[in-house]
């Protein structure tokens, strides 16, 4: 019996090891091969190079044949800039709206509150493609020109939900005796909110904002439908590159994107673990 148990625990541990290998080995593979010098067959190692990174970042242009592939580094940088602009705007709007709605739904009482909370989950659960085409039909019919504005509005519809969920989870778990104490000691509502509620809420708001920022930077489907012809974001840029064929430069872009989101996500998750 004891041997059987040890065997069982051992195989469970091994399985979990495989589980993490499945998640992380592909990412390690791409990181390693992004330094592969072979321009034709990216998975046959021929030597170490940082050329692809140099090309993507614009330090070198058109050294090898495949460098022609990125028509210009300018296009890529424009896509990165667009994504950052969109993410900054949507994060600001979604954080304010999401926090407001969370406070409204968790610090007030009114008829239909429960229903409202359920409705707030809908934009998150709605399949991307459905929301994407619904927004496309809406914007085209209402005569709003597709572009940065429509992307920002469209992304906000579901990003608000994400911020709402993070902030409301914190609000629901917060100790309200401090608020009562503050009120008893003569602070008015605004003072209590600013000095007691907001400081406790702050990590959740930052966490929600980071989440919104990352999801906005990563959103492909909804943006794809409502971007129009003039605006390209970073995920759209990579998606169209993938559809045309794969060249080593994408590797370098991918690894840089992975590193960036790893840093931001680690920061966000760290902040969230701090508040517990």
């Amino acid at each position: 019996m004891k041997i059987a148990r040890t065997l069982f625990t051992g195989s469970l541990l091994a399985y979990t090891g495989l589980f993490f290998a499945f998640i992380y080995i592909p990412l390690v593979v791409i990181a390693v091969y992004s330094f592969n010098a072979n321009p034709v067959n990216m998975m046959t190692w021929t030597g170490f190079t940082t050329e692809w990174y140099a090309q993507v970042l614009g330090f070198k242009t058109k050294v090898s044949e495949s460098a022609l592939y990125i028509e210009s580094t300018g296009q890529l940088l424009q896509a990165v800039w667009n994504s950052l602009m969109i993410a900054a705007s949507t994060t600001a709007i979604a954080t304010i709206f999401g926090t407001a709605i969370a406070i409204g739904l968790y610090r007030f009482e009114f008829v239909g509150q429960r229903f409202y909370r359920v409705v707030m989950f809908m934009p998150m659960l709605m399949p991307d493609i459905v929301l994407g085409i619904a927004l496309l039909i809406f914007f085209v019919n209402s005569g709003i020109r597709l572009g940065l504005t429509t992307i920002i509005i469209g992304q906000c519809t579901f990003l608000i939900s994400y911020v709402f969920i993070v902030v409301s989870a914190r609000l629901a778990g917060m100790d309200r005796t401090l608020e009562h104490a503050s009120a008893d000691l003569g602070a008015n509502e605004w003072m209590t909110f600013r000095r007691v509620v907001l400081p406790q809420l702050f990590p959740a708001i930052v966490g929600g904002a980071l989440l919104a920022f990352i999801i906005s930077m990563d959103d492909l489907v909804i943006t794809y439908f409502i971007a129009g012809v003039d605006v390209t974001t970073l995920p759209m840029f990579i998606f169209s590159m993938l559809r045309r064929g794969i060249k080593p430069e994408i590797n370098a872009i991918a690894v840089m994107m992975l590193s960036f989101s790893f840093v931001v996500a680690s920061l966000g998750l760290y902040l969230r673990s701090r508040q517990k």
């Binding site: 592909p26 709605m126 990563d218 995920p235 991918a254």
Partner: protein, 316 residues
């Protein structure tokens, strides 16, 4: 308190309370008003317009004609008037194929996550948190990048084929990419965090004294699993299944990248109607199918979990 307009007037019983109530109402309106308006216009509005569009006739050159036209659905479901639209069973076939792929994805993510959840739930606090961090981390990295990695691994000159060729196990590269299996693999990879979190939450809450009691009373490990562990973790499995199935069903990025032109899913069909065929009403009707499945699953989930918690309350 300075906001109160009645503080200077003669205090009457009840006045103060009433003004507090009205002030709360004002604050609530400030908090919820703008957001509600925003979501009503830009979330519910578009969905409503999509529903309407799905019942309109396609115009020439991608436009819409304002006449009631149920034939969009008829074309999909089989009651089309041949005067207007032709019923083609291919749409149902693609829909069913997408349902099947989504269901297999749910199954695969469950098989991957369920045993790991048990293992991680029994680790020490520090390791547990670290593992959870490692599992949530990919969720924050770019989806398109994570799919691209699998293109590099699976394609004709990809990692797997190169390794097998160099060891001499195969002579010609295998067709790994642009298959149904590649789509399911890609989706499983992408949706792991979606399944893991709800499953883990229910595994961690599992009352192990019940498991021990079952074993003590003579039930074998298999029977204990079927009768105790599985039912107790079922809510997590159901929750994970719903949030994996819904985005998998309408997905068009994974099949576009890993399925190529060979394996088409419902999401690709919808995309085509909007960006290539320019038949928006028909595309909207197709999207309505996805939305209907989503609503049915959500309602079923709410009703079933409500019934479960009611049963649990009765049992107490």
């Amino acid at each position: 308190m300075t906001l109160l307009p009645c503080t200077s007037s003669v205090p009457m019983p009840g006045v103060r309370e009433m003004s507090i109530a009205s002030r709360r109402r004002f604050q609530l309106a400030v908090l919820l008003g703008p957001v509600s308006a925003f979501l009503a216009v830009f979330f519910l509005g578009p969905l409503a317009i999509m529903v309407v569009t799905s019942l309109l006739a396609p115009g020439l050159y991608g436009g819409v004609e304002w006449t009631f036209y149920p034939h969009n659905f008829g074309r999909i479901l089989g009651f089309a008037d041949p005067m207007f639209e032709e019923f083609d069973p291919i749409y149902i076939a693609i829909f069913l194929r997408s349902v099947e792929i989504a269901a297999l994805t749910v199954l695969a993510t469950l098989l991957v996550c369920y045993p790991a959840a048990f293992c991680i739930a029994r680790l020490s606090e520090r390791w547990k948190n670290f593992c959870l961090f490692l599992i949530t981390l990919p969720f924050f990295t770019s989806l398109i990048v994570r799919l691209f990695v699998w293109v590099l691994i699976l394609r004709q000159t990809g990692l797997v084929n190169e390794m097998l060729l160099s060891t001499g196990l195969i002579e010609r590269p295998l067709d790994l990419i642009y298959t149904r299996g590649a789509i399911i693999l890609g989706m499983t990879y992408v949706f792991i965090p979606f399944m893991f979190m709800p499953v883990y939450a229910s595994v961690e809450k599992l009352d192990w004294t019940l498991v021990r009691a079952s074993l003590d009373l003579g039930a074998g490990p298999l029977r204990t699993f079927w009768r105790i562990i599985l039912p107790l973790t079922a809510p997590g499995i159901a929750g994970g299944a719903v949030i994996v199935f819904i985005p998998a069903l309408g997905n068009f990025v994974v099949p576009a990248v890993l399925g190529g032109a060979k394996v088409m899913m419902f999401g690709n069909l919808i995309e085509q109607q909007f960006l290539a065929a320019r038949n928006w009403p028909f595309g909207a009707a197709l999207a309505m199918m996805v939305m209907t499945v989503m609503l049915i699953m959500m309602i079923a989930h709410v009703v079933l979990s409500g019934r479960r918690s009611a049963a649990a309350a009765l049992a107490r």
